[in-house]
């Protein structure tokens, strides 16, 4: 053996150390004085520990272990042995079942939340406009409006309102109808563009540069222009847009009121 051969050196070290630390020496083994001293030290150290450990009541320990195993001790000897693979299969099955149960529960919660959301959305929106005979849009009055909003909507129909003063076109919207002719539907043309009045009293198309004193008024006016002229939505959306336009007018009334 040479020191340059790590494998043989390692196996040599292993065997030497195993001899040194063996409880019983193999017959015919010769040790140097240093090895004898090492071995003696190791055995003395172990015996010291063993002496501490020997202070043990085996009977009491066995009874304590039995007490711990008490719940299973009576059934263990006659219990059918389950192989490891069977236990693993059963464990995997239980885990899969648990996963499916969690997925189903989460899916159910999702569906319930979706239904709840749809319900709230449905109750909070205006009923869709319907197409009546002759290709005219009919929007039903908004069902739930606050008193103030209705009042504001009613005020909007007064002659001071630009839309009322213009006399051109009709703004289809539930709130408009709610403030005025009770449950009478507001009828608007499906083909014609909604003509919003300009501040000067003419139609939107004819007003080249409307003059507003308040920038907010101009902004609101242009918003309505965009909604009315640049969108050609289907009847259902059109009804909602009409309602939104009405809502914007209410907002305008509340913000700037009689200043118009």
């Amino acid at each position: 053996m040479t020191r340059s051969d790590p494998h043989s050196m390692k196996s040599s070290d292993v065997s030497r150390l195993e001899v040194l630390t063996a409880r019983d020496l193999p017959p015919g083994t010769r040790l140097t004085a240093e090895e004898e001293a090492t071995r003696a030290a190791f055995l003395a150290w172990g015996a010291e520990l063993q002496q501490q450990a020997d202070a043990l009541d085996h009977q009491a320990l066995a009874e304590a272990v039995q007490a711990r195993l008490c719940g299973v001790s009576s059934s263990m000897p006659s219990e059918p042995r389950v192989s490891r693979s069977a236990r693993q299969t059963r464990t995997r099955g239980l885990q899969a079942a648990r996963g499916w149960a969690i997925a189903l529960a989460m899916g159910g919660m999702g569906v319930a939340l979706g239904l709840l959301l749809a319900f709230f959305l449905r109750t909070s929106q205006v009923p869709p406009a319907t197409v009546s005979d002759g290709g005219r849009l009919v929007a039903e009055p908004a069902p739930a409006m606050s008193g103030r909003a209705v009042g504001a909507s009613a005020d909007r129909t007064q002659p001071t309102s630009p839309s009322a003063a213009s006399g051109q076109g009709a703004v289809a919207g539930g709130a408009a109808a709610a403030g005025g002719a009770a449950q009478e539907p507001v009828v608007m043309s499906a083909d014609d563009r909604v003509a919003w009045p300009s501040p000067t009293g003419g139609s939107a198309e004819s007003a080249e540069s409307p003059q507003w004193e308040d920038p907010l008024d101009a902004e609101l006016w242009w918003t309505r222009q965009v909604m009315a002229h640049w969108t050609r939505p289907p009847a259902r959306v059109d009804g909602r847009l009409a309602w939104m336009g009405d809502w914007l007018e209410q907002l305008q009334q509340e913000l700037i009121g009689d200043s118009l």
């Binding site: 390692k10 501490q52 320990l61």
Partner: protein, 186 residues
């Protein structure tokens, strides 16, 4: 009548429950001292070692179906003990520890124990501590597995997860330390 009683006693002795008790008692009788010695060496606290000793035999008994007979039952028990001891030591490290002086001031005075017995116990604990303090934990672990489990170094390497060279190095250094300690003793 006597024959009937003998028959009944024989049946009781051969019942599954009785066989179970006998096997467990035999297992404890043959290996408990060695396992306890190993645990004492590892955790260095008698109460903790005894608690772990119960765990070792409980687990060993529950897992006896998985034990593959290789003629080394004690080695198998010591592997369980080693795993439990390492796990417990990690747990103990996380716990806040109270030094002996503080603990003695907090501990209620025990009037029931005999002072002589208490003295013997304290001396034994001091001896144990001095024997164990001479070695770092890794060296101690290797030598304990070698002494109490009679595991080969390859088995120790497998159990500890260390390379064989590391195990041999720990053993070398541990033995050198023990030899010095023996030489220093009067």
């Amino acid at each position: 009548m006597a024959a009937v009683m003998r028959y009944v006693r024989g049946m009781a002795a051969d019942s599954p429950s009785s066989r179970f008790d006998q096997q467990l008692a035999q297992l404890v009788r043959e290996h408990a001292a060695a396992v306890r010695g190993y645990l004492l060496g590892m955790v260095r606290r008698a109460d903790l070692a005894d608690e772990l000793l119960l765990d070792v035999f409980e687990r060993a008994w529950q897992a006896r179906d998985r034990y593959v007979e290789r003629g080394h039952l004690r080695g198998w028990l010591l592997r369980i003990a080693d795993r439990l001891a390492i796990s417990r030591l990690r747990q103990v490290k996380r716990e806040s520890t109270v030094d002996e002086t503080t603990w003695a001031s907090l501990e209620p005075i025990d009037d029931t124990s005999d002072p002589a017995e208490r003295l013997v116990q304290v001396e034994a604990e001091v001896e144990l501590a001095s024997a164990l303090d001479t070695l770092p934990p890794n060296q101690r672990r290797v030598l304990l597995l070698r002494y109490f489990g009679d595991l080969t170094f390859a088995e120790i390497a497998e159990q500890t997860g260390w390379p064989l060279g590391t195990v041999l190095s720990h053993c070398h250094r541990g033995l050198a330390t023990l030899r010095r300690r023996l030489a220093e003793q009067p």
